[in-house]
């Protein structure tokens, strides 16, 4: 028990003291996960909107697949990207394996189905309410989808956050394609895994605290933003 408290104490001092090594890891984590979420959102938000609005053959199948992919195991994604980027793989010439870029690719793949599927769900619900009106007012399919996404933008913030939560918390994919190289591809989750197995509990705990704190802060900020937005635009629930 004493060991644990000693570790917590040491961890708190690491965090409070602004340990450079620790904050380097935090910064890289943020860079990788935020980039991945940005890429996944850029593709996933319009894609989810299109899946909700457009009618084309294979739409149901695509929806089921997207929903299923939300549960994609990170290690499997890591393995897939590893095979693609490894020297012998089809994209081996890019030399991306064991770089932060490779980690961004892997996390983007993980986050994309989450953003797409959740966006589709929210947009589809809104579409049942909007679709007669937008057609009546003369909006074409593209314009209607854009209007729809803009109108549910407050809810989409939650979607993006869910994506960020997934990216920031996963360890399997970044471990495999990044390699957990100190100072190059070591992020919070891989560092925690490594330090725990090495027995360096203070660093692991300190990183754990920051990780949880970060997710808390991001979610709190989003909550405040949503509250403010629903006061400004009027609640969606009537």
């Amino acid at each position: 028990m004493n060991d644990i408290w000693a570790a917590v104490d040491a961890a708190a001092r690491l965090v409070a003291g602004g340990d450079r090594h620790l904050f380097g890891i935090v910064l890289l984590s943020l860079k990788v996960s935020l980039s991945a979420v940005a890429i996944a959102s850029l593709i996933g938000l319009p894609l989810g909107g299109a899946l909700a609005v457009a009618r084309f053959p294979g739409r149901r199948t695509l929806t089921v697949i997207t929903n299923a992919l939300m549960g994609l195991p990170p290690v499997v994604v890591g393995l897939g990207v590893y095979l693609l980027l490894s020297r012998a793989g089809p994209l081996g010439e890019l030399g991306l394996l064991f770089t932060p870029e490779a980690m961004v690719v892997a996390q983007s793949i993980l986050v994309l189905p989450i953003v797409t599927a959740l966006t589709r769900q929210i947009a589809a619900d809104a579409w049942t309410e909007y679709h007669d009106l937008l057609r009546s007012l003369g909006a074409g399919p593209l314009r209607a989808a854009a209007t729809l996404l803009w109108d549910i933008r407050d809810s989409l913030l939650t979607v993006v956050l869910a994506g960020f939560g997934r990216a920031a918390a996963e360890v399997g994919a970044v471990m495999i394609v990044g390699g957990n190289i100190d100072g190059v591809t070591r992020v919070m989750t891989t560092a925690i895994a490594l330090e725990t197995s090495k027995g360096d509990l203070p660093l692991a705990l300190g990183l754990g605290m920051i990780l949880i704190g970060l997710v808390l802060v991001v979610n709190a900020a989003a909550y405040v933003l949503r509250e403010a937005a629903s006061r400004r635009h009027g609640s969606s629930a009537r």
């Binding site: 007669d132 009546s136 007012l137 003369g138 109108d151």
Partner: protein, 242 residues
Amino acid sequence: MSDAQPLLPLRLLDVRYEVGGRRIVDGITLELEHGPRTVVLGPNGSGKSVLMRLCHGLLRPTSGELRFNGPQWLDGRRRHAMVFQRPVMLRRSALANVAYPLALAGVKRIEQRRIACEALERVGLLPFASQPARVLSGGEQQRLAIARAWALRPDLLFLDEPTANLDPSATQAIEAAIQTVHEAGTKIVLITHNLGQAHRLGDEVVFLSCGRVAERAPVERFLRSPASPEAAAFIRGEMPWT
């Protein structure tokens, strides 16, 4: 309104609409001319809403023909508009809600604002222009929906029970708005359950029963001495089918 062929009359020839084997509109032949305000009456499930959606192009008839005299689109704007029973407000200001269809039609920004303000003024909502549309009351939202539908100056405006579930003063404000639209030269086609409203707002009645037109008559005559037994029963408040 312009040199183009007038939109009306709208001619329906033996229009049917079926969904899941149920025939909701069962062979309607009807001609709607410019001018008189048409009130569509009928019990629940008689096909009023579906008929209106067919006319407005939100639904496609299973069979039969539905033809406007002139083109339905003119310079990027649709020449008929619709106000729904439950107003759907875009999550933006009242003014932006009215400007939205103008933007779709390619109207210049400054013009959008001017036209939207004028439309809001007509329905008495100008003081609420910058308010979020979704915080307005139900009656105000419905008036906003009328302003939005009317912003493009359609030749024909469909209204599907616009005062359902509203209190008398909100209903009165909406009826005044509809009257304004009528006086500006737009043909009104209105669904209602309320005989008083039919009397106040209508010139002629199209009475539907079981997906067919059971009777069509000037409103006074329809209310005083309906010719069909279904309409007579409806007016007496005895609806054997409900």
